[in-house]
Symmetry: C2
Subunit: 203 residues, 2 copies
């Protein structure tokens, strides 16, 4: 069995993701992946052909990694909602190179679609379905809340990752929470917002 | 008088900005600027020494360009506020390469400071000073409004520039306006928000 057969696509992508997270996308090349795997460049070139194909596959790999990191575990829908935001903030602070690649345009292969694509995404749709009856608001209000939280949180952390703003992770948590609490007060929920917010534990 | 003297720093930066806007930062090099100016690389290398110095100077040039584009002209403070947001959206759609360079981290030389730096910026501080008495709200509420508008607008347009979201300029105008109108309703302004918003003309 030739050596190249043992270097699976999966192994190559894991190594490429490691290089991306550690050194940034500009450091990802067939050469650097080969070094990471301690093999020749041949099996990588053979599996992916060129860097365009590699970038496309790496985008999928990076998105899967990011989605896993943001996957909410709580059965409480408010807490689950916060876990996504919290996960997104952590992703930006802990793995800025991956964040830049997927969410700040370096990959050039990650397009979610139109503005409503945040809502039709399967996991998000399920969460919105739980949120609006819980808060006793319309689905439209819950969707608006959801979209605005995502866009605002992205605005905050992408400015930090870009180096335009200096903020600590703790500052961003607190800024985003205050924003969420104010957005809740824009809905006609009868729940006490202070109580809702105080139930959120840092995960 | 040797030719190199005629190639001023100013001329070089104007040419570099043209290349940046047209082709993106990755295309900016001493060679491409020389081609743009129809001169040899010598005067450019002589003026800037290396690409790090050039990038730093180009950042200043690009920020000045961006600030000019966003400079409000209205004497009405609500309209002036909208002109900044409108200018920011247009900047992203019309000159995405410049936007990526300055606001999405490519430059690596543009840091505004902490989260409150949006408020201490001279032009912004003057505008906030007009906004809060006009709306009859506290300065703190006006600052919050200001910060959230900037962060949210940045979130929207940077997702579009990154290719993550597909939105037209008109969609973004409308989404940002709705957001602003809702943020206004969070303050205790006694003004009729519908009237305030309807006074905004597209500039």
């Amino acid at each position: 069995m030739p050596r190249s057969v043992q270097i699976t696509k999966e192994k190559i992508l894991t190594a490429a993701l490691d290089v991306l997270i550690r050194e940034g996308y500009s450091a990802v090349s067939i050469k650097s992946i080969a070094r990471e795997l301690n093999c020749s460049t041949q099996p990588i070139a053979w599996q992916f052909g060129n860097m365009d194909n590699m970038r496309e596959a790496l985008t999928m790999e990076a998105v899967t990694y990011a989605n896993k990191k943001m996957m909410p575990t709580s059965t409480d829908c408010i807490e689950a909602f916060w876990q996504i935001g919290y996960g997104y903030i952590n992703l930006a602070f802990n793995t800025p190179n991956l964040f830049r690649f997927v969410y700040m345009g370096e990959s050039k292969n990650y397009c979610r679609g139109g503005f409503n694509s945040f809502l039709t995404d399967k996991g998000n749709a399920v969460l919105i379905d739980k949120l609006y009856p819980y808060l006793n608001i319309s689905r439209e209000q819950a969707e608006m809340l959801f979209q605005r939280m995502i866009v605002y949180t992205h605005g905050m952390v992408s400015l930090v990752v870009a180096g335009v703003l200096n903020c600590t992770k703790e500052q961003v948590y607190s800024i985003v929470k205050d924003f969420g609490s104010d957005l809740l007060s824009l809905t006609d929920t009868a729940l006490d917002i202070g109580t809702v917010m105080s139930n959120i534990t840092e995960v």
